[in-house]
C-alpha cells in the first residue's frame, strides 16, 4: 500500500494533516501519540504580534459540529519561529506548515518573509479566511482582487510553496481560487469554517461572546467535498481538502473529489487521537477498496 503523496515536490508519508487551529502548535499532543505518524502538521494561525484572541465563551456546540470564535490567539511570528517550531522540529520529521494570518497585506508579507527564512518550515499556508477577526482575515478571502493581491505580495518574498486557505463564505469559490492561482499560488487549502451562530434562548443572547463564529465538524463534510471538487476542476494547482473529515474513508472521498492531501480539523476536538487513528486505518481501508497507491485516486471525479 502506497500512502505517500506529494505537494509541490514535497513528499508526505501520508496525506493526513491536522488542520490549523485544531492541533495547537503540534507539541501539545507530543505526549499522546507519535507525531511522526502524520504526513504534515498545519500550525495554529499566526500573526505579526501576539494575540489574546476573543473573550470566552469561544465554543458553542452544534449538531454534528461546533462553532468556534477563538480569534487567532497566538504568540506572534517571532515566538513561533524562535520557540515553537524549533521545539517541534526536534521531535517531528514530517512536513511543517506555517499558517499565516494578518490584518493588512504588509502584515502577511512581514510574517511570510520571516517564515521563509526558517529551514524548519516546509510550506506557507496563507489564511485569508479566518471569520473570527475584524478588519482582516476573511475580508481578504471574500474578494478575488484582495486574495490575489495578498497572494502576489507573499509570493514575492518567499521561495517556499504558498497555499492560500480559502473561505467557503463566498458566492463562487472558484473565482477566488482562480484569482489566487493566477497570482502565483502554488496550491490551495479549503475550506475554512462556515460563518454561523447559536443563540441561548433562555438568556436571549449569542452562546459565544462574539456574535458569530466559524462552524465546522462532520456536518460540513458534503459542503467541503463539493467545493474541493469545484476548485480542483477549475484550477491546476494542488488542493489540500479540509472540512468535516473524521475517518479514513472521508480522506479517500476527499481525495477522489480532488484533494492531494487532506486536513482533519474539528474531529481533533472530540478525539485528539483521530489523526493517528486515521493513518493506522488507511492501509486496510485502501486494501478493502482495491487502492494500491493513493495517488491513483486523486480527482477521479
Amino acid at each position: 500500500m502506497v500512502t505517500e503523496v506529494e505537494l509541490c515536490g514535497i513528499k508526505l508519508i501520508n496525506p493526513v494533516i491536522p488542520a490549523s487551529g485544531t492541533f495547537g502548535f503540534g507539541l501539545e499532543m507530543a505526549g499522546a501519540f507519535d507525531l511522526n505518524l502524520l504526513g504534515g502538521i498545519s500550525l495554529k494561525g499566526t500573526t505579526k504580534e501576539p494575540r489574546y484572541g476573543n473573550e470566552c465563551p469561544r465554543i458553542a456546540e452544534c449538531p454534528g459540529g461546533l462553532i468556534n470564535s477563538v480569534g487567532l490567539q497566538n504568540p506572534g511570528i517571532d515566538a513561533l519561529l524562535n520557540d515553537n517550531v524549533p521545539a517541534l522540529r526536534k521531535i517531528y520529521g514530517g512536513v511543517v506548515i506555517a499558517n499565516i494570518s494578518g490584518f493588512s497585506v504588509d502584515e502577511y508579507v512581514y510574517c511570510c518573509r520571516k517564515a521563509d527564512a526558517s529551514s524548519d518550515i516546509d510550506i506557507l499556508e496563507v489564511n485569508v479566511s479566518c471569520p473570527n477577526v475584524h478588519g482582516g482575515g476573511m475580508a481578504f478571502g471574500t474578494s478575488a482582487k484582495a486574495a490575489a493581491e495578498v497572494t502576489a505580495a507573499v509570493k514575492a518574498v518567499t521561495g517556499k510553496p504558498v497555499f492560500v486557505k480559502l473561505s467557503p463564505n463566498v458566492t463562487d469559490i472558484t473565482a477566488i481560487a482562480r484569482a489566487c492561482e493566477d497570482a502565483g499560488a502554488d496550491g490551495l487549502t479549503l475550506i475554512n469554517t462556515i460563518l454561523g451562530m447559536r443563540i441561548d434562548i433562555v438568556r436571549r443572547r449569542p452562546v459565544t461572546a462574539e456574535k458569530y463564529g466559524g462552524f465546522s465538524g462532520r456536518s460540513v463534510f458534503p459542503v467541503a467535498l463539493r467545493m474541493v471538487n469545484q476548485v480542483a476542476s477549475a484550477c491546476s494547482i494542488p488542493v489540500m481538502g479540509c472540512g468535516g473529515v473524521s475517518c479514513a474513508e472521508d480522506v479517500i472521498e476527499m481525495m477522489m473529489a480532488g484533494a492531494t492531501a487532506v486536513q482533519v480539523g474539528a474531529e481533533n476536538l472530540r478525539n485528539p487521537m483521530v489523526c493517528a487513528q486515521i493513518t493506522e486505518q488507511l492501509p486496510s481501508v485502501m486494501e478493502r477498496l482495491g487502492i494500491n497507491d493513493l495517488k491513483e485516486i486523486i480527482k477521479v471525479i
Binding site: 487551529g21 485544531t22 492541533f23 495547537g24 502548535f25 507539541l27 501539545e28 499532543m29 507530543a30 505526549g31 499522546a32 495554529k44 489574546y52 484572541g53 470566552c56 465563551p57 469561544r58 465554543i59 456546540e61 452544534c62 449538531p63 454534528g64 459540529g65 461546533l66 468556534n68 477563538v70 490567539q73 504568540p75 515566538a79 520557540d83 515553537n84 521545539a87 465538524g217 462532520r218 474539528a266 481533533n268 476536538l269 472530540r270 478525539n271 485528539p272 487521537m273
Partner: protein
C-alpha cells in the same frame, strides 16, 4: 510555550452506577484504567452518544478499578447522560488538567467549595488528611436539597461547615460569612466553585491559595485554545495549563 499533555489517556469505561443524589445532580461511577490520574482536581472528558463535543467532568475520587464524577443537569448533553444505564460502555479521556498542589500546605488548609466544587475537592482533602494536615472545609449551597458529599467527607474525618443562601441547612448566607465566624488560622487555602464565590474568597484570604477555574471547553486536551483565561503569566488554557491556578496568577 504551551506544555504537552503528558498524562492524558483515551479508553473505554464501563458504567457501574449513574444515580441521582441531589436536585439535578447525578453521580456516575466508571470502571476502567485509572493510571492517568495523579492529583485531586483533575478531570475527564466523556463522549456522550449524539453529541459532537465531550463533556468535561471533575473527578471526585479514583481507585484501582475506576473513578466517579458528580454532574449537574444544565443542558441537553448532561440531560442525555442521566439516561446512561449501568453496564454501558463510554469512551473517556482521563488524566486531564493539572489538579491541586498539596505541597502548598504546611500544616493547615482552608478548603472552600461552592455547589459541585465539593466534588473535585474531595481527593484534595483526602490527600491532605492522609499526609497529616489539618483541613477546615467550608461548603456553600443554594439550598439544603443541593447538599452533596457530607457523609463522604465525614468518612474522611472532616466536618463540612455549611452555608445555604436560604438558611435551610447550616448558616444562612455565603461561604465568606462562615469563614468570618470560624475565624481560624490556616497557612493556605484551596477553592472550587462559582467564579463570584472564588473571587470573594481570594479577596478575603491573605494567605497563599489555589483556585480551580471553569470555562466552556472545546477539546479539553489543550489543542483548540477555546477555554483561554488571562493570567499574570499571559494567556493560559483552563483545560491544560489549569484548571487550578495560583491565586496571584489570576486576572479576575
Amino acid at each position: 510555550m504551551p506544555t504537552a499533555i503528558e498524562n492524558m489517556k483515551e479508553g473505554t469505561y464501563t458504567v457501574r452506577y449513574n444515580e441521582k443524589i441531589a436536585t439535578s445532580v447525578f453521580r456516575m461511577r466508571l470502571d476502567g484504567d485509572t493510571s492517568a490520574f495523579v492529583r485531586g482536581g483533575q478531570f475527564v472528558d466523556v463522549a456522550v452518544e449524539g453529541f459532537f463535543l465531550r463533556r468535561p467532568l471533575a473527578v471526585r475520587e479514583w481507585d484501582g478499578e475506576g473513578f466517579d464524577v458528580l454532574y449537574k443537569v444544565v443542558g441537553k448533553g448532561t440531560e442525555a447522560m442521566t439516561a446512561i444505564r449501568p453496564g454501558s460502555i463510554l469512551n473517556v479521556l482521563t488524566g486531564l488538567g493539572n489538579g491541586f498542589d498539596t505541597s502548598l500546605c504546611r500544616h493547615s488548609a482552608l478548603v472552600v467549595c461552592g455547589g459541585l466544587g465539593a466534588s473535585p475537592a474531595f481527593t484534595l482533602v483526602k490527600e491532605l488528611k492522609a499526609s497529616g494536615k489539618d483541613v477546615t472545609l467550608v461548603a456553600g449551597f443554594n439550598t439544603s436539597s443541593d447538599l452533596v458529599l457530607r457523609n463522604e467527607y465525614a468518612g474522611l474525618g472532616v466536618n463540612m461547615h455549611i452555608s445555604t443562601m436560604d438558611g435551610s441547612c447550616g448558616m444562612r448566607g455565603l461561604v465568606t460569612d462562615v469563614i468570618d465566624v470560624l475565624n481560624g488560622e490556616w497557612d493556605c487555602f484551596y477553592t472550587c466553585g462559582p467564579t463570584v464565590m472564588m473571587k470573594a474568597v481570594c479577596a478575603k484570604m491573605d494567605i497563599p491559595g489555589e483556585v480551580s477555574l471553569e470555562e466552556r471547553m472545546g477539546c479539553g486536551s489543550g489543542i483548540c485554545y477555546g477555554c483561554t483565561c488571562r493570567t499574570t503569566g499571559g494567556p493560559k488554557r483552563v483545560c491544560a495549563d489549569g484548571p487550578v491556578f495560583k491565586k496571584e496568577e489570576i486576572i479576575w
